[in-house]
């Protein structure tokens, strides 16, 4: 169990850094198909921001803002979004995960973006949930 840090330096720096880390993580996920990045990397960066918050402010503070049940739901929601994109392609008359038929501009890029968001949500929620479970044990 991690308790709140005494040092004001750690707490202030963590509070200042976390929004920028999260913004960068969202940038890495959203630009995964046209610049270095992707769902796995962005999801891990997003999870690192929550872990930094847990180390600086204690697990209870993070749990109060972002409940562990929501993390479990998000873990499965990412896989659901991924497989749902595949099934949507199936319903539109193509093979599973063949994005060419999606009714948007640049269908292949947008299909990849959808599954990268799904991967990012799953990886973020799984990492934070594993971290919280490991530290909460007795």
């Amino acid at each position: 169990m991690i308790h709140e840090q005494e040092s004001i330096v750690i707490k202030t720096v963590a509070r200042l850094l976390v929004p920028f880390i999260q913004l960068f993580a969202l940038y890495v996920i959203m630009h995964g198909h046209s610049s270095p990045g992707g769902g796995f990397q962005g999801g891990v960066i997003l999870a690192a921001s929550f872990i930094l918050l847990s180390i600086a402010y204690g697990l209870d503070e993070v749990k109060r803002r972002f409940s562990i049940k929501a993390l479990t739901v998000l873990t499965s929601a990412g896989v659901f979004l991924y497989a749902g994109t595949g099934v949507l392609c199936l319903l539109l008359g193509e093979n599973f995960l063949d994005y060419g038929v999606l009714p948007v501009v640049e269908p292949r890029g947008m299909g990849m973006l959808a599954i990268e968001i799904g991967v990012g949500i799953t990886v973020m929620a799984a990492m934070v949930s594993i971290f919280h479970d490991l530290l909460d044990f007795e």
């Binding site: 992707g38 990886v123 490991l134």
Partner: protein
């Protein structure tokens, strides 16, 4: 000399792999075994990434692709090999997940037997 500098990466990964293998076999503490396994895994990941390197190649992202330039001619020698990157990218994240599961099992073992020493746990079975 040129041979040594060209193959130095393989020797570094083999050293890392030997460290991990020795840690997995010789250490009695289960957490140290897990650390050895992670070192072994990272030596393999670095090995795979290194065989994708190409002299004179840049990152595998098409330059000047914005604006639908479908007529861009892409030379394979200008970009490094993307396939090892793809495979290892997922291997890293899956490795973190499996390490988490291993730590969870170790926590449960410690709760039941009050020790992480391999011989003591086998003695208590």
């Amino acid at each position: 000399m040129e041979f040594l500098s060209g193959h130095a990466n393989y020797f570094v990964y083999i050293m890392l792999m030997m460290i991990g293998l020795y840690g997995m076999m010789a250490k009695k503490n289960l957490v140290k075994k897990l650390v050895g396994m992670n070192i072994f895994q990272w030596s393999l990941i670095l090995f795979f990434v290194s065989i994708g390197a190409k002299e004179g190649g840049t990152i595998p992202i098409v330059e000047g692709a914005h604006g639908h330039g479908a007529e861009i001619v892409i030379q394979a020698s200008h970009y490094v090999n993307p396939l090892p990157h793809v495979l290892m990218l997922t291997a890293i994240v899956v490795g973190v997940g499996t390490t988490g599961v291993a730590l969870a099992v170790l926590l449960n073992l410690y709760k039941k037997y009050k020790t992480l020493d391999e011989d003591e746990i086998i003695g208590k079975l």
